[in-house]
Amino acid sequence: MKTIKSILGIALISLFTLSSCSSDDNTIVIDNTPDFSGTFAQQDQMGRPAVNTVFVGSASKDTFNTTIPSQQSAAFQAMFETNLTGLSPAFANPGDQNALGQDAATFTGLLATDVLNVSLDGTTTFFDGTNVLTGRALADDVITVELLLIFGGEDFTENPNLSDDNVDANDKPFLSSFPYLASPW
């Protein structure tokens, strides 16, 4: 394609238009506007980190990804609660809560609607010891937060061997300015 571009030498003729049209019907139409037509159907979905992978049984993962958030709690909260109480000794007994004061039903009710809550009024963090679920920053140790909420019990002290993966930061420093993510390896 680079050869075509250099032969034409005309920046106005967009390469992508040529290729998208030719793949349809082998007719090259000169058009500056990319083709944005068509219907796009949902395949993957993500709000909070690790929710689908942790709380959804393997047979339901694709279904969870194609259930709209407003219908997720009704469809999946019971599964989440079953999986949470089966997974974590900190939720094995009736009345068990996490450090946010949530019992299994409340905690999984929150998580089953897989959206990320974001504050437009200040600090944005998954959890920083003070602010809870006001966003997700790059440096947030979301896995340890989730492990603590799953395994750490009422005061984050239960199951210490399971409630922190002891990886607390990224392998490259983040940038203070846009686009914030570090350059690739």
């Binding site: 689908n52 061997n161 399971l162 990886v167 392998d171």
Partner: protein
């Protein structure tokens, strides 16, 4: 720990392949290993505190050797959904889709229909940025107060996923200290958009999520 081990052992039987696989990396069979696999989603206050930055990462666990050949797919629409009214239904979307060497963006705009099927909302504010090639400095664009980036970046996610797998498999009863970041040295294909708060609700709390949608 005996009780913990026993309970975990039982849970393995009950839950089967119930696995914590990274933030959302390779989370489901239909999207695993495809351009539609969203690995992570972030939303945070930008360097300009009047703005929110959104990050959608796809195609995780790219080795440096594989990153140069990784590309966005013209049939995969990445959509950031924004609920400003608290009902978990999107009131605004920001759409990103590649054409040629550019990533095109539309929005924030009220979608013509909510839910599982989308059309590209070309009536929304249109923006684009050259997709940054592997090994090149990040190319960014600004339009209407927004900033845009698309291209390979270091995967910002970190976790000792390997040891978690050992625990769930019953081969270990504890994380290691220090742990080992399974995602160290790997890349993702990133889309980063920074948007003035005034365009996405202004104040209060919004609910956001990312979707990938395939052309039918």
């Amino acid at each position: 720990m005996k009780r913990v081990t026993t309970i975990l052992g039982i849970s393995i039987v009950l839950i089967g392949s119930f696995f914590l696989i990274a933030a959302d990396h390779i989370d489901a069979p239909a999207v695993q290993g495809t351009s539609s696999d969203i690995t992570d989603f972030y939303a945070f206050q930008g360097e300009d505190t009047n703005s929110i930055a959104f990050v959608v990462n796809t195609q995780g666990l790219l080795s440096p050797a594989a990153t140069g050949n990784a590309s966005f797919n013209e049939n995969t629409l990445i959509e950031i959904n924004i609920d400003t009214s608290g009902d978990n239904v999107e009131d605004l979307v920001i759409q990103a889709i590649p054409r040629g060497d550019k990533m095109y963006f539309f929005g924030p705009v009220a979608p013509s229909a909510t839910g599982l099927n989308s059309v590209i909302e070309t009536s929304g504010t249109a923006s684009s940025v050259d997709i940054t090639a592997y090994g090149s400095a990040a190319i960014t664009e600004t339009n209407n107060g927004m900033k845009f980036f698309a291209g390979p970046r270091d995967d910002p996610f970190f976790m000792d996923f390997a040891q978690y797998g050992e625990i769930i498999a019953g081969n270990a009863t504890s994380f290691n200290d220090p742990g080992s970041d399974t995602f160290a040295g790997t890349n993702v294909l990133s889309i980063v958009v920074e948007v003035p708060k005034s365009l996405i609700g202004g104040s209060g709390t919004i609910n956001v999520w990312a979707e990938s949608k395939g052309k039918q």
